[in-house]
C-alpha cells in the first residue's frame, strides 16, 4: 500500500506506474496548445499604424522621462497636459532627427537629472545599478559555501549510506503524501 501511494502522488522515490500511457508527441501537443493561447496576445504587435516607427520611438523616449507634475509617472503614461505637450515636443524633436541621447540631454539641461526615470549609468549612480547584481553574486557564493559545508558535514558524519538515515528519508518522503497540517 505504501509504495503504491508513493507511486501515484508524484514522489521522487521510484514511480513505476508513471512510465506508460503517454504518447511521444505529448510535449509537442502541449507546446502547441500553449502557443495557441499566447498568439492572440502577440498578434496585434504585428499590425501597425501609419507611422509605427515614430510613435514607438516617441513612446520609448517619453517613458524614460519623468512627468514633472505627477511625481511618479512617466511622460508617456501621464494623462496631464504638460506631459502631453512634452510628448508632442519629443515627437517634434524625433522628427527633426534628434537622437534619444540628445533629447534626454535637452530635458536634463532644463529640469535637471531628476527628469530621468532611470539614473544614467555613471559615477555614483553605478552603485544603484551594480549593487543588486553584486549582492546576488555574493549571496550565490554564500549559498554555495553553505551547501558545500553541509554536504561535507554529511560525508564526514556518515561516510557510507547509513541505513537508519535512508530509512528516515524514506519515512519522510512518505509523510509528505499523508495529509499535512497534523
Amino acid at each position: 500500500m505504501g509504495s503504491q501511494q508513493a507511486a501515484w502522488a508524484g514522489s521522487p522515490a521510484g514511480a513505476p506506474g508513471r512510465r506508460h500511457g503517454r504518447g511521444p508527441g505529448f510535449a509537442l501537443v502541449w507546446a502547441l496548445v500553449w502557443i495557441g493561447l499566447v498568439i492572440p496576445g502577440v498578434a496585434p504587435a504585428a499590425s501597425g499604424s501609419p507611422n509605427p516607427d515614430l510613435e514607438d520611438q516617441v513612446r520609448e523616449i517619453a517613458s524614460g522621462l519623468r512627468c514633472v507634475v505627477c511625481q511618479n509617472l512617466s511622460v508617456a503614461d501621464s494623462p496631464s497636459d504638460l506631459a502631453k505637450e512634452m510628448r508632442n515636443l519629443v515627437r517634434e524633436l524625433v522628427r527633426q532627427g534628434k537622437s534619444r541621447e540628445e533629447i534626454q540631454a535637452y530635458f536634463v539641461s532644463r529640469y535637471g537629472e531628476f527628469v530621468l526615470l532611470s539614473p544614467p549609468k555613471r559615477g555614483f549612480n553605478l552603485l544603484v545599478w551594480g549593487l543588486p547584481f553584486l549582492a546576488i553574486l555574493l549571496g550565490a557564493w554564500g549559498v554555495y559555501l553553505v551547501a558545500r559545508r553541509w554536504t561535507e558535514q554529511r560525508e564526514e558524519a556518515e561516510p557510507a549510506v547509513d541505513p537508519a538515515y535512508a530509512e528516515r528519508v524514506r519515512r519522510e518522503l512518505q509523510e509528505r503524501e499523508r495529509p499535512s497540517g497534523s
Partner: protein, 181 residues
C-alpha cells in the same frame, strides 16, 4: 580566555548595528524636501523664446537684451496662487518700468477668453502672451504655475521662485537685478 569571548560578542553586536546606517539615512530624509528641486538654469543664460503678446505684436528674448527682466509663468486656472500674486506683479511693473525693468507674463495651458478675463480683472498693463504647446514653459523647466524667473542685464537667470511671490522677495530680487551690471 576573555579575548575570544569578547570578540564573539563584538561580532554578535554587528548584527543589530548593521541597521544603523539605514536609520541614519532615513533620519536624514526628514531634512530634505522632496518637492524642492533646484533648477539647472539658475546662473545660466536664459533660454531664448519668441512669444505673440496679447494685442501687442511679438516679443522675444532679444527684445529684453540689456534690460533686467522678470519672467512670470501663470494661468487663469491656477487658483489661488496666481490670483494672490497678480496684484503684486502689476504694482511692481508700475513701480519699476521707468527704471528699465521688463516684466513679461507667460500664460500657459490656458483658454484665451479665460486669460483675457484674468488680465482684465487684475488690470495687467505689462506684456502677456500665450505659450502654445508649452514650448517656452518646457524650455524654462517649468513644473507648474506660478513660477518666476529673474533675469539680469546680461541675460542670465539669477533666481527662480516656485509658488506665489511675496512682496519682500519680489522687492529683493528686483533690486538685485536692477543693481547688477
Amino acid at each position: 580566555m576573555a579575548g575570544p569571548e569578547s570578540l564573539m560578542s563584538w561580532k554578535k553586536a554587528l548584527i543589530p548595528l548593521a541597521c544603523v546606517p539605514v536609520i541614519i539615512l532615513l533620519a536624514y530624509g526628514f531634512r530634505t524636501d522632496p518637492k524642492a528641486i533646484p533648477s539647472p538654469l539658475v546662473r545660466q543664460p536664459a533660454p531664448g523664446f519668441r512669444m505673440a503678446v496679447y494685442d501687442a505684436g511679438e516679443l522675444s528674448l532679444e527684445t529684453l537684451k540689456g534690460k533686467p527682466a522678470v519672467l512670470n509663468f501663470w494661468a487663469s486656472w491656477c487658483y489661488p496662487a496666481c490670483y494672490e500674486e497678480a496684484p503684486l506683479l502689476e504694482s511692481t511693473w508700475r513701480k519699476y518700468k521707468d527704471q528699465g525693468l521688463m516684466l513679461v507674463g507667460v500664460d500657459i495651458q490656458d483658454k484665451e477668453a479665460n486669460a483675457r478675463e484674468f488680465m482684465r480683472r487684475f488690470d495687467f498693463t505689462f506684456p502677456n502672451g500665450p505659450d502654445p504647446g508649452s514650448k517656452i514653459s518646457i524650455d524654462y523647466g517649468v513644473y507648474g504655475v506660478p513660477e518666476t524667473f529673474f533675469i539680469d542685464r546680461q541675460g542670465r537667470i539669477t533666481y527662480k521662485h516656485v509658488g506665489a511671490l511675496t512682496p519682500a522677495l519680489m522687492e529683493a530680487q528686483v533690486q538685485a537685478i536692477l543693481k547688477g551690471n
